[in-house]
């Protein structure tokens, strides 16, 4: 389908690239001092020299830790077929020991065409793991354990980590443990007995530098000439794109983007938005696409919620602000209503509503997460008595009121 329209095809190609991390991070695999080369060296040397090893990949989310690891493993599986088997665990799913061992056994069985028993006990599974480690060691086969969200495995007794790392102390076994975590202090979370068995190799993944970012943009957005697209379209598309990339305005957009978050993940979301809104008539990306993509991913939820508030809800917020200025240590619906009445008495506003109407507006504010209950104390109380606090700053409130079209609160001297 869609062969008729090169623009649509180009869109699909770009979206496929943006959703495929291994394509994006393949750019960095060539340079010798990249994390890719380092990681590949560590794992391949322990495969070829038949030794045990462990390494931690640390860095913020969206910096390609898992993508690089997958690339390395894929490459190594090609280079040394039948010498590596990969076991993948995720801290979100397998932080519980029982569960983790079961999953290891399941993947080992799958890998080696063995029959997996769902009913196997914890003991059976750990026995199985140990004997598999020995067998694989004798066959000079390396088992690579990938532990994603490594910090979650360090909760509780760390039995799984201990068992794995302890089994690796023996000469017969041959295994690599790769931990991936976005907590930079992940190795500090380990118990002493686990830490002493861990080789302290750490690879740090950082957001790309400015030059890398520009290379990355070209890598992602330029269409390759050997695709099924018509040549003249590809050429025109690329020429137009290079024009945009060199534009100072575009560089300004990228600067504001990186100002808040310069990880690749953030950049990808930005590009995704730009590509999605590509004009299908002209079939090319325009500077406007990038400009409009910026506010769509850098959202200000509190200001948005403020703009949605009705007049009565704004009144309540202003009352809360006034109470805050008065420096009362506690604030709840009743004290707000008192303040509301005093505002009404002082300024004779037309917006004076019954208490239950205000209570509902108050509940709407709670739903909008502009205010929240102070703490979990007083659970038994009804809503009116529970202490609340304002979740927006004075500045935000003022900005919200100013942007409101028919703001009545300006007369209130706030």
């Amino acid at each position: 389908m869609g062969h008729e329209n090169p623009a649509e095809q180009a869109k699909i190609i770009l979206r496929t690239r943006l959703c495929n991390p291994s394509f994006i991070f393949s750019l960095f695999s060539q340079s010798p001092d990249s994390n890719y080369s380092k990681l590949k060296y560590i794992i391949s040397s322990s495969v070829t020299e038949a030794c045990n090893n462990s390494v931690l990949l640390l860095g913020p989310r969206g910096c390609g830790k898992v993508a690089v690891l997958e690339q390395v493993l894929e490459e190594l599986l090609k280079e040394h077929p039948d010498m590596i088997s990969v076991i993948k665990l995720n801290g979100l799913l397998h932080s519980d020991n029982n569960c983790a061992l079961k999953e290891i056994a399941r993947q080992l069985c799958l890998e080696h065409q063995l029959l997996f028993s769902k009913m196997a006990s914890f003991d059976d599974n750990s026995q199985f793991l140990l004997s598999m480690l020995r067998e694989c060691g004798l066959a000079h086969k390396t088992i690579v354990f990938v532990l994603d969200e490594f910090d979650l495995f360090a909760q509780g007794k760390q039995l799984l980590l201990y068992n794995l790392l302890d089994a690796m102390q023996s000469v017969t076994s041959q295994a690599v443990v790769v931990g991936v975590s976005c907590r930079l202090d992940a190795d500090q979370l380990l118990e002493k007995r686990v830490r002493s068995r861990f080789s302290h190799r750490k690879l740090l993944f950082l957001p790309p530098s400015r030059e890398d970012l520009e290379r990355l943009l070209e890598h992602i957005l330029l269409l390759s000439t050997d695709s099924s697209l018509p040549d003249d379209y590809t050429a025109a598309f690329n020429a137009k794109l290079l024009n945009i990339l060199a534009d100072d305005k575009f560089k300004g957009v990228i600067d504001t983007l990186c100002y808040s978050d310069s990880t690749v993940g953030h950049l990808l979301r930005f590009l995704f938005s730009a590509v999605c809104h590509m004009d299908m008539k002209s079939g090319f990306l325009s500077l406007e696409n990038f400009k409009s993509a910026l506010p769509s991913i850098q959202r200000q939820p509190k200001l948005e919620a403020l703009k949605d508030c009705s007049v009565l809800e704004l009144y309540i917020l202003v009352c809360m602000k006034r109470l805050e200025v008065k420096e009362l240590e506690l604030c709840n619906f009743n004290s707000i209503m008192k303040e509301y009445k005093s505002i009404h008495d002082a300024f004779q506003t037309s917006d004076y509503y019954a208490r239950n109407v205000c209570l509902r507006a108050f509940e709407h504010l709670l739903q909008r997460a502009l205010i929240s209950f102070d703490d979990n104390r007083g659970q038994g109380h009804s809503t009116e008595f529970r202490p609340v606090k304002l979740l927006i700053s004075w500045h935000e409130l003022h900005q919200g009121l100013k942007s409101y079209r028919s703001c009545p609160v300006r007369s209130l001297g706030v």
């Binding site: 389908m1 869609g2 649509e8 869109k11 699909i12 979206r15 496929t16 943006l18 959703c19 495929n20 989310r61 969206g62 995720n90 979100l92 799913l93 397998h94 519980d96 569960c99 969200e149 910090d151 976005c182 990808l268 979301r269 995704f272 999605c276 809104h277 991913i297 959202r299 939820p301 509190k302 948005e304 919620a305 703009k307 949605d308 009705s310 007049v311 709840n332 009743n334 004290s335 008192k338 917006d351 509503y353 019954a354 208490r355 239950n356 109407v357 209570l359 509902r360 507006a361 509940e363 709407h364 739903q367 007083g378 038994g380 109380h381 009804s382 809503t383 009116e384 008595f385 202490p387």
Partner: protein, 540 residues
């Protein structure tokens, strides 16, 4: 009658049925047939035979044109991968409805799970898997799910298995049908998972593990053929977790503006001229209070009936003169309705189907004053007395119990009152503020029972005789055989949320109670018993 209201109601009923039984509403025979045959095909993962065009889609949602086009752009052309989307906006802004209708328009396979009906992880997991395995609970399988799945790790394994087989069959589907398209066939080989009402997951027991799992599901699955869409009432910044998660792409649905609301309410009106003149009057004042469609439509429904009362024929086009007459007719009702909470309960768990009595009693518990003087629910006399004594125990300071309820009855209260007024004004104000802040106080069971005995024994005599009965009151309680009944009543009052059980007192160790009824409510109950409540109420 109001157009936006009818899809609202439709949505409530069809939200689930529209995805589990795609055509139960549209064609009952067809759905019966699929039920009987038990063999569902992949084409059941969308709305069958219900294709709508883009224009219809945009026209059915006034004021949402830009959002619909943005969403369609983000979903992209056929078979294009997508990053997880996060659609948010406050209640009744059309998030779920628009997304479901867009899928109806695009005719792509999806699964829909609302975290309201899927109230815990296991139900959520199994509901998704049931839809993916094309499994429907019915009599023959004992209403069981296709797979039993409790742990997240099992869920991900099963989900991957289900998705792989589904996508394979979708690919086969595409190959078979070639270029010719039939309306009942799903488009493309992407499968979309929609999670609605995600904000509720935050309240779940295991929210700290389930939320990161859902947000990271796309990265864990690593399947480009899967699209994930979250729908939530609260913004992404309210979903916090320790180590964060892969952020989904945010899409914001703002509240309707006044103009949008006018378009929404003007849809499908029998007499647009008449309704428009009605909206001229009511829309502006009501928008100052709330802009939620559901609340406005429930408020407008009775008001419009009132508005039409003077006119015999509803089809008439109102003249200027008539409009003025109608305006003066409706004017008093507008301000009256403005100061009433519309009868839509704000809490989502109170279903609109709840019977009237229950809703009213709930309203009361939230401190809503009713103009009626009678209480409209049944309660035994002893329960009423118990309610009053709980109210007294919560409001009065414990130190005053003796003077209020001792042999002199309520006569002492006046002296107390005067005494309190002698205090300095400052002190009084701080006390008042404290009461406002702290709310009703807590009390132990013994105090409640003591007050209960006192007031029931008083009530056995008429208030006129009270002075004569000095001395004997404290001794003559209701006989102790009633005691178990009283405790039973207490527990039922607790479960009805009139009295809440608080934590135990750290010093005494006994459970403490607190009354949650408002003063109006207590007075009303007292009036129904002819009990002089105000006499016993300590006022600072």
């Amino acid at each position: 009658m109001v157009k936006e209201e009818s899809p609202q109601i439709n949505r409530r009923t069809t939200r689930l049925s529209s995805c589990t039984t795609p055509n139960s509403k549209a064609s009952p025979e067809a759905s019966k047939a699929t039920n009987r045959s038990h063999s569902l095909s992949i084409n059941d993962l969308n709305f069958r035979n219900e294709y709508i065009t883009l224009d219809e889609l945009i026209n059915s949602f006034p004021g949402r044109r830009a959002k619909i086009i943005e969403l369609i752009n983000l979903l992209g052309p056929l078979n294009s991968p997508i990053t997880p989307l996060f659609v948010y906006g406050s209640a009744s802004t059309g998030k779920t409805n628009i997304i479901l209708q867009i899928f109806k328009h695009l005719n792509r396979p999806f699964t829909y799970c609302s975290c309201i009906t899927c109230y815990n992880p296991r139900v959520l997991f199994e509901s998704i898997l049931n839809q993916l395995f094309l499994h429907r609970k019915n009599e023959s399988n004992g209403y069981l799910s296709s797979k039993r799945c409790e742990k997240p790790s099992d869920f991900v394994n099963l989900l991957r298995e289900a998705l792989t087989s589904l996508i394979d069959s979708l690919k086969g589907n595409v190959g078979k049908s070639g270029s010719k398209k039939s309306s009942s066939q799903v488009n493309g080989k992407m499968v979309y998972l929609i999670f609605d009402n995600l904000e509720l997951v935050r309240e779940w027991d295991k929210s700290s593990t389930i939320l990161p799992l859902l947000f990271n599901l796309y990265n864990i699955l690593k399947m480009p053929e899967v699209g994930i869409i979250f729908v939530s009432k609260s913004s992404p910044d309210t979903f916090q977790s320790d180590t964060g998660y892969a952020e989904p792409f945010p899409i914001y649905f703002p509240d309707y503006t006044e103009d949008d609301l006018r378009h929404i309410f003007m849809k499908n009106q029998a007499n647009p001229k008449l309704y428009s003149s009605f909206l001229d009057l009511v829309l502006r004042p009501f928008c100052r209070i709330t802009r939620r469609v559901d609340e406005l439509s429930t408020a407008f429904l009775p008001l419009f009936k009132k508005y039409c009362e003077p006119i015999g024929d509803l089809g008439t086009v109102p003249s200027e003169d008539m409009k003025r007459k109608l305006f003066s007719h409706i004017q008093p009702f507008i301000s009256l309705t403005l100061n009433e909470t519309f009868s839509v309960p704000s809490q989502p768990f109170v279903k609109a189907s709840a019977n009237k009595d229950r809703r009213k009693s709930i309203k009361k518990m939230f401190g809503v004053s009713e103009s009626l003087d009678v209480i409209d629910f049944h309660m035994s006399t002893s329960a009423k007395y118990l309610l009053i004594s709980a109210f007294l125990a919560s409001r009065n300071p414990a130190t005053l119990d003796a003077s209020l309820f001792d042999s002199t009855g309520g006569s002492d209260i006046r002296k107390r009152k005067r005494k309190s007024s002698e205090r300095s004004k400052d002190q009084k104000e701080t006390k008042e503020l404290e009461l406002l802040m702290k709310g009703p106080g807590t009390f132990p069971l013994e105090r409640l029972l003591a007050i209960f005995q006192c007031i029931t024994s008083v009530a056995e005599y008429s208030p006129v005789d009270e002075e004569l009965q000095n001395g004997g009151l404290g001794l003559e309680g209701p006989d102790s055989g009633l005691m178990s009944d009283i405790l039973l009543q207490l527990s039922s009052l607790c479960s009805a949320n009139f009295i809440t059980k608080g934590g135990s007192c750290p010093l005494e160790g006994s459970t403490r109670y607190r009354s949650t009824v408002s003063e109006d409510m207590a007075l009303k109950v007292a009036r129904s018993l002819k009990f002089p409540l105000s006499k016993y109420l300590f006022r600072r």
